[in-house]
């Protein structure tokens, strides 16, 4: 499958430093995003460390598939999903160790949302409240569950999604990298279809603009870098209260087989549907 991607990070309009960090590793089809927290410049250290560790581990395992997998993984997962979750475990450890070694870094932490695409399989590993979305046929679906207090309250039926959006507890995270030596990592696998669009973003985006706006923007621009740029711009237009990061990944409609001409019909239909759902 043809994969085209683009990402943008921006400090926003209120903060003075950008604690978000992302990385696109094109040869691996690996996408990692992290949102750091902690005083001074430590949030930046944490998010950079998270992204760096995940990318490095995934690259190393590409060269040396025999590397140890950290954390306990269900056997049903694919190798890539296990690797990615393992990388997030390592990222947690490196942030935690760094904070232990440097007292001034105590309390720093980071979210991480990482996606690895292998053929038609999408592996996701995730901790915190940065999100992964999948836009499929104009339908925007959040893949990750926020590890935030309000999201947990919605899942338990204590808050409605609307109440959660208004809550002033939105920043309270139940899980983040770097707080404990061990961490629980959410992982999942999905099958990708032609023309799917994957979005990774920090909460600076999702708190500023609505999901229909996100869906519309993703559909309106066929260039992932421009779509990411437009999303960040929209978030800033609506306040830009936090750092904003968006990574957009387009899954191509390229078929692998001789029967590719068969797919032309549906693909056209999707495009029609897509532009209709845009602005």
């Amino acid at each position: 499958m043809d994969i085209v991607s683009g990402g943008v990070t921006n400090v926003g309009r209120v903060r003075t430093n950008n604690e978000d960090c992302f990385r696109i590793v094109e040869p691996l089809n690996l996408f990692v995003l992290s949102d750091g927290m902690g005083g001074e410049a430590h949030g930046e250290i944490a998010s950079a460390l998270a992204v760096e560790t995940v990318v490095q581990h995934c690259q190393e395992t590409e060269n040396d598939p025999a590397m140890t997998i950290f954390g306990d993984m269900p056997a049903i997962w694919s190798e890539k999903t296990k690797r990615l979750a393992s990388a997030v475990h390592l990222a947690n450890k490196s942030i935690y160790d760094s904070a232990q070694a440097h007292p001034e870094q105590r309390g720093m932490g980071a979210t991480v949302t990482a996606a690895w695409i292998d053929g038609t399989r999408l592996s996701i590993a995730h901790v915190g409240d940065s999100r992964a979305y999948l836009l499929r046929s104009g339908n925007l679906q959040q893949l990750t569950s926020d590890h935030s207090l309000v999201a947990e309250q919605v899942r338990r039926g204590i808050l409605t999604p609307a109440e959660a959006e208004r809550s002033d507890m939105q920043s309270v995270l139940l899980r983040a990298l770097g707080a404990h030596p061990e961490i629980e990592v959410d992982s999942e696998e999905h099958v990708l279809f032609a023309n799917d669009v994957l979005l990774l973003c920090s909460d600076g985006l999702t708190r500023m603009i609505t999901e229909p706006e996100i869906a519309g923007t993703l559909q309106a621009d066929p260039d992932p870098a421009k779509a990411a740029d437009r999303l960040v711009q929209l978030a800033n237009e609506q306040g830009g209260a936090d750092n904003v990061t968006a990574v957009v990944v387009h899954i191509g409609g390229q078929s692998k087989g001789w029967f590719s001409w068969l797919r032309r019909g549906p693909r056209k239909a999707v495009r029609k549907n897509g532009s209709a759902g845009g602005k």
């Binding site: 339908n139 590890h147 919605v154 338990r156 999707v270």
Partner: protein, 242 residues
């Protein structure tokens, strides 16, 4: 009376009856069915009776609980099922009248899986479960988790008659990667989709716009028990099955 038999390979390890109290399964010796294996978490799973049905619930174990090869977080057990934890399995004997299991109702409901802390050890998790129970939220939460979302085919050509929605993303289409596989010429690869969100299951468009209870949807629509979904000549009933 229903009973559980812990087996290792062909050897019977222990047998316990299922009463009103949940049967604990795990590596810790204070479980009703202690399983001495490093692949098994201290408090791995439990089995209890709820509304006359036998339910197994995984307690966020590291390596998972399997019912007849299927990994489950929570599942209803039937006579003859096997629960697998590590290399051990537990045979379910519910040949006795299941309604005589004693309806513990909501009292038997179990606390939600929560991630209130970043600590991973099982003691913390157990405390959390107790805490949540004390908060009195468990009945409400458990009630929403009791049932399995299922698409039952009413008419149309598909590869199965019934689909239990186990994944977050379900695709209805001709694609070989689709969950609900449409058969026949000129069917779209991706006709429609059913996705799980925090507050339920939503049907959304693919190349076609599905019709729910006779009306075409205008955007993602949350499905209610009993809704009829139609797309590409396929009619399905969305139900929460016990």
């Amino acid at each position: 009376m229903a009973k559980l038999t812990l087996m290792f390979e062909d050897k019977l390890v222990k047998q316990v009856p299922i009463g009103t109290r949940p049967v604990g399964i795990g590596r810790s010796p204070d479980n009703d069915l202690p399983v001495d294996n490093l692949a098994v978490s201290n408090y791995h799973a439990r089995v209890y009776v709820e509304a006359g049905r036998l339910v197994v619930e995984d307690l966020d174990s590291l390596n998972g609980t399997f019912v007849n090869d299927l990994r489950v977080e929570r599942a209803t057990l039937h006579d003859g099922d096997s629960i697998w934890v590590g290399k051990h399995h537990i045979k379910v004997d519910a040949s006795g009248d299941t309604t005589s299991l004693g309806d513990t109702g909501k009292k038997g409901a179990v606390a939600p899986r929560i991630n209130e802390t970043m600590v991973l050890d099982t003691k913390a998790r157990r405390d959390m479960l107790q805490q949540a129970a004390a908060m009195g939220e468990r009945t409400q939460f458990a009630a929403s988790r009791l049932k399995v979302p299922t698409l039952v085919v009413l008419s149309g050509k598909t590869d199965q008659k019934e689909y239990v929605l186990t994944n977050k993303l379900t695709v209805i289409g001709k694609s070989k990667m689709a969950t609900v596989k449409l058969k026949g010429w000129f069917k779209p690869q991706l006709a429609a989709q059913v996705n799980q969100r925090d507050d339920g299951y939503y049907v959304g468009p693919g190349d076609k716009v599905p019709v729910v209870n006779g009306a075409p949807i205008t955007g993602p629509l949350r499905l209610n028990d009993g809704d009829v979904v139609e797309v590409c000549g396929l009619r399905m009933n969305f139900i929460f099955r016990d």
